[in-house]
Symmetry: C2
């Protein structure tokens, strides 16, 4: 069923014509948008629009605007993170150069705004208002993430605040776009938004867990990448907190382990041993449950099956 | 009289509160917006709004949105041009770093959009529509400018097309913002826009000329900076064209001159000798005259004195 919506987004993007010139501005965008991805965010907009009583097609421009924004933020984040690879292929700054990645990212952000302008005039001010708020928050989240890399006193609360801004509010925005377009009440809009934000936080926490405990074949990347790079994930911050309480120095020793495969193996075992995995799963469950409560509060006549299906899709990657 | 409008913009910016945190995201913006500048673009919006029969105050959010956009583009351009100094002080990427300059630039662009959302709801869709179109063109102009640096076959027509996009359409947009807010006819809007675009092209050409022939005390920078850096300005492209027709190789010899003061002096004399200065001034006059014709076509009841004053201010820097 979700394929129905993904197809709509893919076919919109296939017919989406960017100008040909200047080649160095637009070619990187054609390349990057063609790298694929799950198109998760625009699908949420389409499902929400239908749930609110409109057709998916009536929300397509707005849905794809969210996808363009998401890709803009990836292009710029990749420069800042110095990431060479995205979806198995070279990032824009790697394939071209940083200047081209900056500027084509900029124009993609404006292109996202441009698509919003194609929705019905009556919805434009509200869509822009929510989009601006969300875009600002995403930038704030990215800055916090960069700040955390060089800080040694990051708390769990700060980490949750960061992933909320960097990745989760955009899911809320995507869903609320669908409800704005289907003229839902302010309360319904708030509830679907909060469903999205909590879902996003839970999803990001699951991502942290799968990075270390996921089946590498199913997760699609090397196990323990975060541990290898000493990334401050929720697992790490939880371990830090527990170790502090226990006066246990093992985390620092593990961090310095030169043999990276050994480091991953031992960290994985240690986290289980001192209850880090269990504690992190509690966070995941808390945000997952919050999301489901907000979804329950959404009052519509149609069935919420598609959203439940999406939730199952997102949280059963291993099963 | 123009001071009246500049004051309004300055006082708006003084009261404009950016969030405090994340510090690394917003501090660079407070710094950069505080570097000053002529606030030319927002003043144009305010004058146009009054000319159209509204008060300047009714267009203030939109006016400052143009100024924020302009500053966003400067922050990102400075990274791409590797420019260490802006208005006598370090650029953002120099004072902080490139990542911070990318991200604070991004958020400033969104902040520009946010201000547009503060205008009356009835005007928001049209303001956004024009702003999107303009922002895309400015990015295209910047890309063309970067492409020109490594191209050896740039034509005069391409150069004019580049400065039109990179700098002039924003003046047109600033003026049309004022006319959109004062509910002017489509025809009036088109004419004030074209006035701005042509004015911008004339102004940029004047800038090229003053770089080599201006009084250094009045221009406020080293004479012949463009010649020293072998920049492809209108003077250079015109010289190239004339030399090609004359089968004259002197331009290439001048370009390679190691003694930079001598290079500037001899280029300056050579351009006069073969008629480059005169030809370039013809271009300037053409776009200046076009601008004035479009201004004439604008049909309003109030006096256009403020715009004429602005034009005099822009084109009498030397007198």
């Amino acid at each position: 069923m979700l394929n129905f919506y993904t197809q709509k987004v893919e076919s919109y993007l296939e017919n989406y014509r960017l100008p040909v010139s200047p080649v160095n501005l637009y070619e990187p965008l054609v390349y990057f948008l063609g790298l694929g991805g799950k198109r998760l965010r625009p699908v949420l907009t389409l499902i929400a629009a239908e749930l609110g009583g409109k057709s998916a097609d009536e929300a397509l421009h707005a849905a794809v605007s969210i996808e363009l924004f998401h890709n803009f933020s990836l292009i710029h984040d990749d420069i800042m993170d110095n990431a060479p690879i995205r979806r198995g292929l070279p990032t824009v700054h790697e394939k071209w150069n940083s200047n081209i990645a900056i500027l084509s990212g900029d124009v993609l952000l404006v292109k996202a705004y441009e698509l919003i302008s194609k929705q019905n005039k009556e919805h434009i001010p509200d869509l822009y208002h929510l989009f601006n708020k969300t875009a600002i928050e995403v930038c704030e989240g990215q800055q916090m993430d960069m700040d955390f890399e060089i800080r040694e006193d990051v708390t769990i609360e700060e980490y949750i605040a960061m992933i909320r801004l960097k990745t989760s509010v955009l899911l809320g925005c995507a869903l609320e776009f669908g409800f704005l377009i289907s003229n839902q009440s302010v309360e319904n809009r708030k509830n679907i938004y909060d469903f999205g934000v909590n879902l996003g936080i839970a999803f990001q926490i699951q991502d942290d867990i799968l990075d270390l405990y996921g089946d590498p074949d199913k997760v699609g990347k090397q196990v323990g990448g975060d541990v290898r790079a000493n990334k401050k994930t929720l697992l790490y911050l939880t371990a830090e907190k527990i170790c502090k309480n226990l006066n246990n120095n093992k985390l620092n020793i593990l961090k310095g382990t030169k043999d990276l495969d050994k480091k991953v193996q031992e960290t994985s075992a240690f986290y289980k041993e001192i209850g880090v995995l269990e504690e992190t799963q509690k966070y995941l469950n808390y945000y997952y449950d919050s999301a489901m409560k907000y979804l329950e509060l959404v009052e519509v006549n149609s069935s919420k099956d598609n959203l439940h299906q999406m939730v199952n899709y997102l949280f059963n990657r291993q099963s």
